[in-house]
């Protein structure tokens, strides 16, 4: 079977694939691409009454406005920074957790731990942020411990200092989503042929060697795909958690693009601004994806397309 050439026999043979692909593509165009007409709103003084077709055209005004606003550049920085920190932290934690869980000898223990680990996923950010805020406040449990063990002389208010904010947000993400994110890796680990472990054991491999030589390579395609997908999401660093945990003192590091859009766009009935920011995020995401996808291609790794 030749991979590259495309002949009439292929068409005949792949007819069923082509038909399904066509149907699914039509679906995709309708539900994902048609709404993109809405992007026109970024170039208009959009009013719901005149609609997308008849609103006043304003060209690139909104983009110029965004990129000349120091505050917008600052929220890009914050979003990127938190996006990257979150990505690295949640990503690594999920993989480490999945692998270590797989190494738990007792089957019952494995099931119990796994069931518990994904539960925080079902708590809303309000709940998680509330508990975290309590724990980290000047009179909270963390400060009590730190002072008790003489790590700090007196309690510090973690939310009054800009430097703590990004790590706190990353921790919150890890806390809430590690177990949930690990599910994919656990599923991937199941596809690894057990005989590979047996072979490794015969070669005298210890735990660590097995993880390094069997488990990790086995789930590498999954890791690569998720990594690539998440890289495209660095600008979607979130909204709720930063909004709930932030305060006036640290607003310079806590505000993300989404908060900016809410504040200056939606709550002002300025649809163009929000749309322009959305387009900016999409463009950055796609550029990142294409770049990293090509890099993966060059290294012969699993890739998105």
């Amino acid at each position: 079977m030749k991979a590259k050439s495309f002949t009439k026999t292929d068409v005949k043979h792949q007819k069923v694939l082509l038909i399904w692909a066509a149907i699914i593509t039509v679906y995709g165009i309708i539900f994902y691409y048609v709404p993109l007409v809405g992007w026109l709103m970024a170039f208009q003084n959009y009013k719901p009454v005149t609609g997308i077709l008849h609103s006043q055209f304003i060209g690139l005004d909104k983009f110029k406005m965004l990129f000349s606003d120091v505050a917008f550049l600052r929220v890009i920085r914050n979003t990127l920074a938190m996006g990257i920190i979150n990505l690295v932290a949640t990503f690594i934690m999920a993989i480490v957790f999945a692998i270590l869980l797989n190494e738990v000898a007792s089957k019952g223990g494995k099931k119990v731990v796994q069931t518990i680990s994904y539960l925080p996923h079902f708590l809303s950010w309000i709940i998680v942020a509330g508990i975290l805020h309590d724990a980290l406040s000047a009179s909270g449990i963390i400060n009590e411990l730190l002072v008790h063990f003489h790590i700090f002389a007196k309690p510090i208010d973690f939310f009054a200092h800009e430097k703590y904010f990004w790590p706190i947000v990353a921790f919150a993400n890890v806390w809430k989503e590690t177990g949930w994110n690990a599910i994919i890796y656990l599923a991937a680990i199941t596809s690894i042929d057990p005989s590979l472990y047996e072979a490794a054991a015969i070669d005298g491999a210890g735990r660590w060697a097995k993880i390094k030589n069997v488990t990790l390579p086995g789930i590498k395609p999954t890791i690569m795909i998720l990594l690539l997908m998440n890289v495209g999401n660095v600008l979607n660093a979130g909204f709720e958690i930063q909004y709930i945990l932030g305060n006036g003192l640290i607003q310079k590091v806590s505000q993300t693009i989404d908060i900016y859009v809410l504040k200056w766009g939606i709550s002002q009935m300025d649809y163009a601004l929000g749309t322009a920011a959305g387009i900016f995020k999409s463009v950055v995401s796609i550029v990142l994806i294409v770049f990293f996808n090509n890099m993966a291609k060059r290294h012969g790794e699993e890739r998105l397309f």
């Binding site: 939310f159 305060n247 006036g248 809410l262 002002q268 009935m269 649809y271």
Partner: protein
Amino acid sequence: MKKKIVSALLVTTMLSTVVTGCGKQAGRGGAVNADGIKEFTGFFAVPGNELNDDNDVQKILAEKTGCTVKETWLTGQTAEEAIGTLIASGEYPDFIEAGNGSVQMYEAGALVALDDYLDDYPNIKNFFTEQEWDSLRQSDGHIYWIPQFSNIQGEEKACEQNDEAFWIQTRVLEWAGYPKIETMDEYFDLIEDYVEANPTMEDGTENIPYTILCDDWRYFCLENAPQFLDGYPNDGSCIVDPETKTVIDYNTTPTAKKYFEKLNEEYKKGIVDPESFTQSYDEYIAKLSSGRVCGMIDQWWDFAFTAGDAIKTAGLDKEGCQYVPLPITIEKGMKNQWHNSGGVLNVSSGLAITTSCEDVEGALQFVNDILDQDLLNLRLWGVEGVDYEVDENGVFYRTPEERKNCADTAYKAAHLCPYSYFPRWEGTSTDGINATRPENQPGEFYDGLSDNLKKCFDAYGVETYVDMLGTTPPPGDWYPMYTFSQTMTTSTPGGTAWNKMGEVKHEYLPKVVMADDFEKGWDEYMKVYNDCHPEDFLKEMQEELDRRIEAAAKYK
């Protein structure tokens, strides 16, 4: 195989039950249902209490008026988003309260002009004076919405200081022998003395002398005191000098500086809670609820119904942990205006009827009918003999059981139907005896007071929270200016400045209070503040002030 067939059948039946049946997003336009009742729909772009479909009072009201309104409320969206989608879809409910989106609804041609109809509906017509109706006219000269609230009929019945104040716990006043406290300095001296003498509560937990709520939009607890300290009322975004009719920025007055310098001083002394600027609203309420906080500035509604309730639940009212307001100004002998009498007509939004409504007359007839006193009683008090009782003098009261029921969420949803975003009267009933709402009924008020409050009120020779402060009439026709600043958007330089000022104050005011060197911190704040061009904002406020004064002059 059999299993497969069964499951396939199951899915098909399920699908058919869901796909059939129809809903209707748009107004039902007063379509008559099987019981002969006209059904309307209403959307209110505010969070609200959802009623059960078979709500008791709603049914009684339907029998009396021949109409019912299925109400839906804002959930998980901003009003702007909800209204934006509605307008884009072009299908509306019959009734709408569009909040900040009202002007957008009007511009979209989605609302029915009401002025031609008004004469046929006396209850609606009489709801406002000619001047008030005129103030509701939009740019095309028509009236599109009816503000529902703060419209006082007869004697005003206000017992609670439902606004902002410097609050203090009764135990502090009791300890000091109920002194007369009039200035900010006296207020803080009192707290300092008290905490020095009583560092802890009865159970040994440490007192928090003074805390400041600063969470998100609630940071008014930090920032807007200077207007009150200077003896002005709550115009919200600026001071209006009643003599010269000019707008003054309260952020930069000498009083503002004194106030923040005082806070800075108290912060250094450890009187101001060091967690003030990072605490969340929940944490603030938790502190207040534990009875540890001696004093703070806040709006009554912002803490009383949560922390106030919790203090009572925990029995801390016996320890004197409830709050009373104090008439504080910057200097002695100034007139304070923490409490203003009279309602505030908010012209920026109200109940409107949309172009999707096919029976405008029927809809207005309904609004007219539910303003009748009997129906108002049903809406606001409930059913006589079930939700309230009438004594031999015609005074309404509730038994403890009724009070408990009426505070229960499930009972409210199943039984009570206030039609809360339809117009209603405040003040006194047409019977001249009762308050229109139980919350303002004096008897209901006194029965709810704990002993420590009664003792405190007695000591000062007053009967209500409001008496602690005194009441002043509204300063002028322009009042309050915040109804204008609320509607400002970044499409004007003034609106942009207003937004930026808010952001700067949010960040720098806490820094000023915590600054090691107050003067330096203040200068830095002023520099950044002036970069926001507050003059643009003040200019637009002045224009609006002039416009309002001019508009009011026509009726003099």
